[in-house]
Symmetry: C2
Subunit: 260 residues, 2 copies
């Protein structure tokens, strides 16, 4: 029986602990190929490299018995290069997995997430895809409690497929003394970041700024990803790349006076 081909990427960069953990899990399930950024790409959202060229180099040391490439671009660039250059004349991946991200990608963070942009690229191409994130920002975060669930989730998606145009945003609570309560299918919580800018001065007395912020959750529901994480569930949000606010179309058609 032919094994599934699994493409792995991330946004923390190819040397991060999270991608190593993810590769170790999915090696049990199928043939693995890694195309991941050669530098941290956190917060890059769905950026692609336009007007600049890209580098791609094979890496034979980071992963054992796994074909791996490091790319100078963003996570979305990595998936595009994997499909349309590295695997151009080969079979295409059966699933794309991204992560494990060092830090939460719940709620509004999905928009800013490089991890999820790699998965959304899968959805655009019609390939099942999952972004995995752990709600722990430490570079040496403990991923061990997530690994059996990642294996279950990848096997489930390989077996059942995903609805057309959908990629999954999976977040795991930080490791606690008690085990996870289970997996919840959720919607994206209604929450946002309220930014603050920490102004400092360089040795030439010119100002520069660090963006910091507070996360504010407005959502009182129990069907969203923030609730799930706060209650020690694994959250799974099905995400789409159609940004159309379909419910707003009839509203504008009715209210506006400038339509012919």
């Amino acid at each position: 029986m032919i094994k599934p081909l699994i493409l792995v990427s991330n946004d923390d960069g190819i040397t991060s602990k999270g991608i190593k953990s993810l590769v170790d899990v999915v090696k049990k399930i199928g043939d693995v190929i890694v195309v991941a950024p050669n530098s941290p790409q956190s917060g890059k959202g769905h950026a692609i490299t336009v007007g600049e060229s890209l580098r791609l180099e094979e890496n034979t040391t980071l992963f054992e018995n796994v074909r791996a490439y490091e790319c100078s671009g963003t996570p979305a660039d990595c998936v595009k290069m994997a499909r349309h250059f590295v695997l151009k004349d080969e079979r295409q991946p059966d699933i794309i997995v991204s992560g494990i991200n060092h830090g939460s990608n719940t709620s509004i963070s999905v928009l800013y997430s490089g991890t999820m942009s790699a998965a959304i690229e899968g959805a655009i191409e019609g390939t099942p895809a999952i972004g995995f994130s752990l709600c722990d920002y430490g570079s040496d975060a403990d991923f061990s409690h997530t690994l059996p669930y990642i294996e279950k989730l990848v096997r489930q998606v390989l077996e059942k497929g995903l609805p057309k145009g959908v990629a999954l945003n999976v977040n795991f609570p930080k490791k606690k003394s008690e085990p996870f309560k289970g997996i919840r299918i959720c919607r994206q919580a209604n929450a946002k970041w309220v930014e603050e800018f920490d102004q400092r001065f360089d040795p030439y007395n010119r100002p520069y700024f660090w963006m910091t912020g507070k996360f504010v959750n407005f959502d009182k529901g129990e069907d969203n990803d923030e609730w799930a994480i706060a209650n020690n569930y694994i959250s799974v949000v099905p995400c789409q790349f159609d940004l159309t606010a379909h419910q707003a179309i009839p509203v504008l058609n009715e209210e506006w006076e400038i339509l012919n």
Copy 2:
């Protein structure tokens, strides 16, 4: 009567022709403040600057009688700095406009668009916001035919507001001999880019790559932005930042065997 406060940003950078045209139009409607990138940010999607610091400098020469700042970050950074640093202790904008982009942001391009990320930041903050793009990539593109429509659209949105969580993605056809047929409220077309990678070698014989691609439109409908542009209508797509594929939630709940 107090004039509306209009925040202007873009992704082509503060020196581009498109933002100058946009500022000239919206000066007729209200008080204008510009916070825009100091370098081209095309294709940056919803990227923000994480792990690096930002610069912000007032510019007193580019726009006449308009307070303007150039920022080292992405379009999303610009809107965040405008709200939470520049206007921190002042009144907040009544509307955010972004563009005019040199090039189309129809269909799937909305995901990669820096222009639209500035507008989506407005939606996140509850401020009406519009991204404007002209389907002409020339740095000296002719924007003149779009200006009366931009004025109408901004006035309409200031008067009527927008549904909660919605920003508008407005695209204008390239200038033709005949005038626009009108404005259409559309959904995002089902189309994508098929990338190709043009491999070259540097003087040290190391490979580098240019990403190019063909745009492929799968959509046969007449209610989408690609159809509107091809038929010389102005397309207006209401966009949301809730990426949840709500229709997929019951599907996964029913099909999956790994839920407790």
